[in-house]
């Protein structure tokens, strides 16, 4: 039934996701639960469309977590990470330490050997980065204090995995005789090195990532960007992440941690938004696959054999972790609702448990039966997380106390630029500088990598990328911005962008530069209200100067230009509606030109359209000139 090659597999997973996830979303369950249910549905215990190879899929899909950490790193500037050091070390350290103790104590109480109890405790103390971050992100809670605290703890757990892996062999029950080191671990360059050397190698690898991010990647990205091949940029982005992951695995560190670091290093790069939008779909797909593999991997046969035990352990695990987290939340002075969010987010065991348990089995720390039961428990707690968070949101939170969320959200919007400028040539640059001089920050997107580089050297916040891409606009914050300034050099791009923005970000007000009358027509037709012909102002100013040099009074020339401009702007808008009818267009255009000239010559003095008649004494002379000087003017 299963098997049948790559395409068959892809068909099953994709179909399951496409069918289940929208339903779950519609029901308000969130995508994570949708993927998990899809996994259960296609798994060996329901439809049986996928079988044992599910574990390989899980292994492969874990790369999604790596990509996710890279993306999170991209959003965090180094200063923000430094700011989080307190929660990471304090909150994270206490969470892992306390939870390990509590879980080990429970295990001891159940009559397990202390070594096994400790191994199980530390394994289950870790939470699921993938599920927690994806769910928090989807609910928009990542920026809240509870979300940030959860993130800090998860980051600490990622670091803690390294010493825990080293600890496992030491816990091996004496005499049982381990079956030797994990083959995977042998692959690393640090295998067999003494502890201090291992530390040095890891530090060196971290240094390599930081230095490469700072000095090597910028020029590489610039060269790639200059080729103008989008897929090549995507390939480079993936290569970067995979290379970092491989390097980190080779030195025995969690690849997720390595790519997170790489992300942080690149957080201030001009290619940030481009990288984000390139990696994002891969992350999404792989994480979805990951969740489905978890769902498919839940061993319902084992659960059916001893449902009482499995569910009791699952419940006990969640309650124990939740209590520790709630205590810590209060200890670190999180608000009440944020403590609840923090607690319910992290109350599950995570994907690390799968790795650590198989590791523990290999070293005979944990027996195979116990491990199988625990894996089922871990999977159940993971599947329960979205449900628990939903319960917290719908039932627990509304009953208790204050919500911090609204307050924090304003903060978040504060960081967001209200304006996005697409195209930072001479036109866009002047717009940007005027805004900046008035303390309005703008996010700038430009496609010319040389220019981006130059502008960043001048200290401007400019990002490389094709602004007509919806995902990139999204990454630049188009969902929250108010204005979109279109100042691209190419006409088609401007129109493409208008279409994208109107479709995906209807709240944006679009201000567009038109390089010609024809382009102005097209933009007006596309529904842009604020269209600016870039040559109109400068040519009018030149015309005014020409008139002055010919002896006209400055104010007369200035008023003529004002009249010309308002007349012409009206005409463009009128003509835009009739440009497809060639004859009508030409005749109307001719009429408008003649009308304007007559107006400026003063031939229309009686028509009421004469704008400066108030300053023209002609009619007064006619009425009062014959009489004596009792005139009012």
């Amino acid at each position: 039934m299963h098997g049948g090659g790559f395409f068959y597999q892809a068909l099953i997973y994709l179909a399951a996701a496409v069918v289940t996830v929208p339903i779950a979303k519609r029901l308000g369950l969130g995508s994570v639960l949708g993927y998990l249910l899809a996994g259960v549905a296609i798994g060996p215990f329901a439809l049986g469309l996928v079988g044992a190879e599910g574990q390989d899929v899980l292994h492969f899909a874990e790369f999604g977590v790596v990509l996710m950490l890279f993306l999170i790193g991209l959003e965090l500037e180094p200063s923000r990470v430094w700011h989080l050091r307190g929660p990471i070390l304090g909150l994270g350290g206490l969470q892992v330490g306390l939870t390990t103790c509590v879980l080990a104590a429970i295990a001891l109480g159940l009559g397990v050997d202390w070594r096994v109890a400790l191994a199980v405790g530390v394994t289950l103390a870790l939470s699921s980065t993938a599920i927690v971050l994806q769910t928090l992100d989807e609910k928009g809670l990542l920026a809240t204090r509870g979300g940030q605290s959860s993130f800090a703890v998860l980051l600490f757990q990622d670091i803690a995995v390294i010493p825990i892996l080293a600890l496992m062999p030491l816990l091996a029950v004496p005499g049982a005789g381990g079956r030797g080191a994990e083959p995977g671990h042998d692959d690393t360059w640090v295998a067999g090195l003494p502890g201090w050397a291992e530390t040095l190698v890891v530090l060196a690898a971290v240094l390599v990532i930081i230095l490469a991010g700072r000095f090597l990647l910028q020029p590489v990205f610039r060269v790639i960007a200059r080729t103008g091949l989008r897929e090549l940029f995507t390939a480079t982005a993936l290569l970067l992440v995979i290379a970092t992951a491989v390097l980190m695995t080779k030195v025995g560190v969690s690849p997720a941690l390595g790519t997170f670091l790489a992300g942080v290093v690149l957080a201030r790069s001009e290619y940030r938004h481009e990288l984000e939008s390139d990696i994002e779909p891969f992350k999404g797909l792989l994480l979805g696959l990951f969740f489905m593999a978890i769902g498919a991997g839940i061993d319902f046969a084992l659960i059916a054999r001893s449902p009482g035990l499995v569910f009791a352990l699952t419940g006990a695990l969640i309650v124990a972790k939740l209590l520790v987290l709630l205590v810590l939340g209060r200890l670190f002075k999180l608000g009440f609702d944020q403590t609840l969010l923090f607690g319910f987010s992290l109350a599950q065991a995570g994907e690390f448990a799968f790795v650590l348990l198989s590791f523990a089995v290999r070293y005979d720390v944990v027996g195979e039966n116990l491990a199988a039961t625990l894996i089922a428990v871990v999977a159940l707690t993971m599947a329960a997380t979205p449900v628990l968070m939903l319960l917290n949101e719908r039932l627990v939170q509304p009953r208790f106390g204050t919500r911090e969320r609204t307050e924090r959200e304003a903060d978040e919007i504060d960081e967001q630029s209200p304006v996005i400028i697409a195209g930072f040539g001479s036109f866009g640059a002047i717009v940007g500088r005027l805004l900046r001089a008035n303390r309005v920050t703008a996010t700038v997107l430009d496609l010319d990598s040389d220019r981006v580089d130059l502008l960043r050297k001048l200290g401007l916040k400019v990002f490389y990328g094709d602004a007509s891409r919806h995902d990139l606009l999204h990454a630049a914050g188009a969902g929250k911005a108010r204005l979109l300034v279109l100042a691209l050099d190419r006409v088609e791009k401007n129109l493409e962008l208008v279409e994208t923005a109107k479709k995906h970000f209807p709240q944006l007000t679009i201000l567009a530069r038109a390089r010609s009358r024809a382009e102005a027509y097209e933009l007006l037709e596309a529904g842009v209200e604020h269209v600016f012909r870039d040559k109109l102002d400068s040519s009018l100013r030149l015309g005014v100067e020409a008139l002055r040099l010919l002896g006209f009074r400055a104010h007369q020339a200035h008023r003529a230009a004002q009249t010309f401009r308002s007349h012409d702007e009206k005409a463009v808008r009128e003509l835009a509606t009739m440009r497809h009818d060639h004859t009508l267009y030409l005749s109307t255009a001719r009429e408008r030109i003649e009308g304007l000239e007559a107006l400026l010559r003063g031939d229309l003095a009686d028509s009421g359209e004469m704008r400066d008649a108030g300053w023209d004494p002609e009619s007064l002379r006619q009425e009062y000139g014959a009489r004596k000087a009792d005139e009012p003017k």
Binding site: S566, M610, R611, W615, S619, E623, K633
Partner: protein, 211 residues
Amino acid sequence: MQRILILFAHPAFEKSRVHRRLAAEVERLPGATFHDLYEQYPDFDVDVGREQGLLVEHDLIVLQHPVFWYSVPPLLKQWFDLVLQHGWAYGSEGTALAGKRVLPALSTGGRKEAYRHGGHNRFTLRELLAPIEQTFVLCGMEYLPPFVIHGAHGMGAPEIERHARAYRKLLEALSGGRLDLVAARRLPQIEAPLDDLIRPAGGNDAERSEP
């Protein structure tokens, strides 16, 4: 029901405290059109046709502005120059505005005592604004005594609030025909409180017919 056009002119509205409050009070007054000139014509390019149309559509024109150098802000003067055309607003054939009323609504930085003979400004405010008054009289309109807020520079929030409410009450009374015009015309200027000038709602009140 008198239709009111509020011609508002303030070149630095964002820095104003008094006019921001006054504007907020009357911006959405039923039966009134609030017309912010500096917002409409930042380049002084007044659309004469549009402005004349607005004047024709309303019965009472309120000129709301701060007093700068004993006169109106420059854009309002430009507006006078261009909109009040000979042959339309005045002159033997200019009767478009005849019979309408004008009410200035002014703020001055200086205190009331400064605006008197022998005072710091040597003339009363009414005297200083004679050119404006005559402009509208020439157009055949009735110039009502200005509604004035003196001492705007040193004014605290509660007092601004009091003036803003009085301003709104005044416009409502004018709109509903409840202002005692006979008494008002005898005054050099109108100031808060206005209790003696406004008849209570009811009686022959035009507003009662509204749903």
